[in-house]
Symmetry: C2
Subunit: 204 residues, 2 copies
Amino acid sequence: MTKPTPQTREQILEAAQAAVLTKGFSATSIDELIAEVGISKSGFFYHFRDKTNLARALLERYIEQDDMVFDRVFAEADELSEDPLHSFLIALKLLAKVFEDLPNGHPGCIVASVCYHEQLFDQEVRSINAKAVLSWRARFRGRIDKIAERYEPRISVDLDDLADMFSAIGDGGIILSKVVGDRSLLPKQLLLYRDFIRLVFDPA
Amino acid sequence: MTKPTPQTREQILEAAQAAVLTKGFSATSIDELIAEVGISKSGFFYHFRDKTNLARALLERYIEQDDMVFDRVFAEADELSEDPLHSFLIALKLLAKVFEDLPNGHPGCIVASVCYHEQLFDQEVRSINAKAVLSWRARFRGRIDKIAERYEPRISVDLDDLADMFSAIGDGGIILSKVVGDRSLLPKQLLLYRDFIRLVFDPA
DNA sequence: CCGCAACTGCACCACAGGTACAGTACCTGT
DNA sequence: ACAGGTACTGTACCTGTGGTGCAGTTGCGG
């Protein structure tokens, strides 16, 4: 802990993430990463046993960062309202704003990228990926449960599906934004999800 | 036209699509494709100038097949109801059923795959990809416009965003299904989009 | 001055993508 | 019957680079 956490490893991961999200995992060469970071090939293999190990680290780091954003946004929203519905609606608005403020739009979701490379990785990486999506479901399901305790839904909906819808809209919105080249599309989709939640639960 | 359309080319594309969707484009080798189809390397290069050319063909073929499904489903729905809202709701239900009936779930969306490989391809491929998403927007926007002519929306929504939401839910739902390994998630998400449309426009 | 973390340098191989061509089997129009 | 196109096969060859192993080095904390 006396060490400031080896930053070379972090630099490699940062470079790898950007490359993987724009060209795919296999097309991301180790040579290119070490050139960008300024280390030797052996230096790379000191930090990562092999390329698959890099993939796992990349995925775990992405999920961790993602969770931190969610934690922060939900905490902030909870401070602004005690009501579970209003807090959730505030959180979604804050989240939309976070994505809107990213200067070049959302760079891409590693979970989605891994999904479209699944046969390249071992069972463990795929299982980490699945666990991440299920943890998002659990997080949103928890919020929605508390909303449903207080507000009668206007239509009958499965609450797991409603929770999953966030992940779907998120990953789908990222793809939309990237493909069309319009970074406003992701936040707009999140706000549409917010409208749906409001229509389902808000009696007003 | 007397020829039954070279089926070897189609076999290559079929094998390539399955491989690309599960391992990514770069990890899909020409050697592996020709082994599966049972042709020689020269045979491959007779059909495709290079690998990029294969990618373009793959994308164009996917978009074409996708459009055909949409055409069929919307035509079927139009026969069942003259009302634009009801026809749209029927179409979404039919579409959910189409995906539910796929024995192994949706194999993946080439548009999304290309999106996560963009730097690998030239401007033309990326432009084809963007055009596909915009054509989905136009298709759904057309339907939604007709609904909005007859039904006053319960909340104020941007109709382009509402149209885009289908693409987002579709691509996001595919990822969800693939990652969690539950093929029911995609159709469930489509039905949730249907619920949203109903809540927005249906006065009942 | 020991020992560990964090590297560098070098050698190596398999294999993928791609090129170049010559040859062949079959079908079609004239 | 034969000219010519389509749809290939076979062979040879070249380049780049991904992935790996391992021996050696540097610098810093204790």
